[in-house]
Symmetry: C2
Subunit: 237 residues, 2 copies
């Protein structure tokens, strides 16, 4: 698969530039993965020190987006890639945007964990954060692996997982509303859990977006907003 | 300004293609503006019919994103634009993405208004929705006007407004939390207002993103994640 996609290079130098942009984007992906993981840990342990680190590191994620996207623009300007090379540059650029937004959401989770810690936590467990967080974390990892290996079947599985996360999210929210009604003094605290779950759900959406970029890149077909069945047809067809 | 930006065209045909992509993007922007406006009306009047229309039309927004983005990719592939033409194509493509996400948020507001109507509304007013909605609505219009006219000072004002919206949003949320605590039976209904405010705040963020794309396009400088002061220096410098 990788050989096919890389069959149009006009020069070794161009090849090296494309590889560099992809590698740096995947490194940024690794940093964002860590941000998500650390934000979830900070939340589960009400560890405000770790949460502040996550919030601080968001700057680094933002800078990487701008730097690597500039690299992509330079490749477009100088090398004027066509066909699959063009798709690769565009898919990298779009993925950068999704990674940056995942980083924002991780930073929001960190801030909500600080707010929750300041309120002294809540007597109820935060197990939904752990559960959905683990699920979303593995979607992020798989989406990046799918990009690294140009693996569209894996990308399709990420898109399928997103549906499961949405269902888990709905269930968790309903149980939190019930808890709020039973114990109105906990409203402020529970809202921090709700906002954080929302952020996790958004991170899942961005992982799905990355998966769609991978399918576009490998299959040459834009599957944004396509139903899962259409995506399956593209990947298997 | 417009003349400068358009000074590198290699052909009339290329010129026409670029103009067409820009025009279609701005038309999509007009549709998204309407979606936001209708979603706010549906909410204020608990008009589920209108809300359902908004939710249905979101498909059209999604399709436009994919179609116009494909047009951009074709321009990149065939015309291999450089300098300001390249920036224009990339700015259009990034703006499409922000518009599509605004459309998603409008559709979420519509769904929350249906949920609120089904619960019979709440005795409290939804004035925050109207107030912040009007503010955000004018940011969206200004961001699109700034793009249409390559007007970076107007784009800068949009970015400045986003800060004001964030402050209004914080105040509104605190007052809603207080209301919930005083009247726990309203929790479910108030959450629909909160989620909708959150969507409006996100729409403001996307308007700011579009403003940043305009500054990038006109000034040649990527100001994403820059502080307002840095943006001011770029636009005025």
């Amino acid at each position: 698969m990788e050989k096919d996609i890389h069959s149009h290079h006009i020069s070794q130098q161009f090849n090296a530039e494309l590889d560099d942009a992809k590698t740096r984007m995947l490194e940024m992906g690794g940093l964002v993965e860590k941000q998500v993981r650390d934000a979830i840990s900070a939340f589960m342990n009400l560890d405000s020190g770790l949460a502040e680190e996550v919030a601080r590191r968001d700057n680094k994620v933002n800078n990487l987006e701008v730097e690597i996207d500039e690299e992509c623009t330079l490749i477009l300007a100088r090398r004027q890639p066509a066909a699959s090379d063009l798709r690769l540059v565009l898919a990298i650029s779009k993925t950068l945007n999704d990674l940056e937004r995942m980083g924002d959401e991780a930073s929001k989770i960190a801030k909500h964990s600080i707010a929750l810690a300041n309120e002294g936590g809540v007597s109820r467990s935060y197990l939904e954060i752990r559960h959905i967080g683990d699920h979303v974390g593995s979607m992020v990892r798989d989406a990046l692996d799918a990009f690294a290996r140009f693996d569209s079947p894996l990308a399709l599985r990420v898109a399928q997982e997103d549906k499961a996360v949405d269902t888990e999210y709905g269930t968790a929210m309903r149980s939190l509303v019930t808890y709020m009604i039973e114990d109105p003094r906990s409203i402020g605290s529970i809202l921090n859990i709700m906002w954080s779950l929302r952020s996790l759900e958004r991170i899942g959406d961005h992982a799905r977006n990355i998966a769609e970029h991978v399918i576009y890149l490998v299959e040459g077909k834009d599957v944004r907003h396509a139903a899962l069945e259409e995506m399956e047809a593209e990947v298997k067809g």
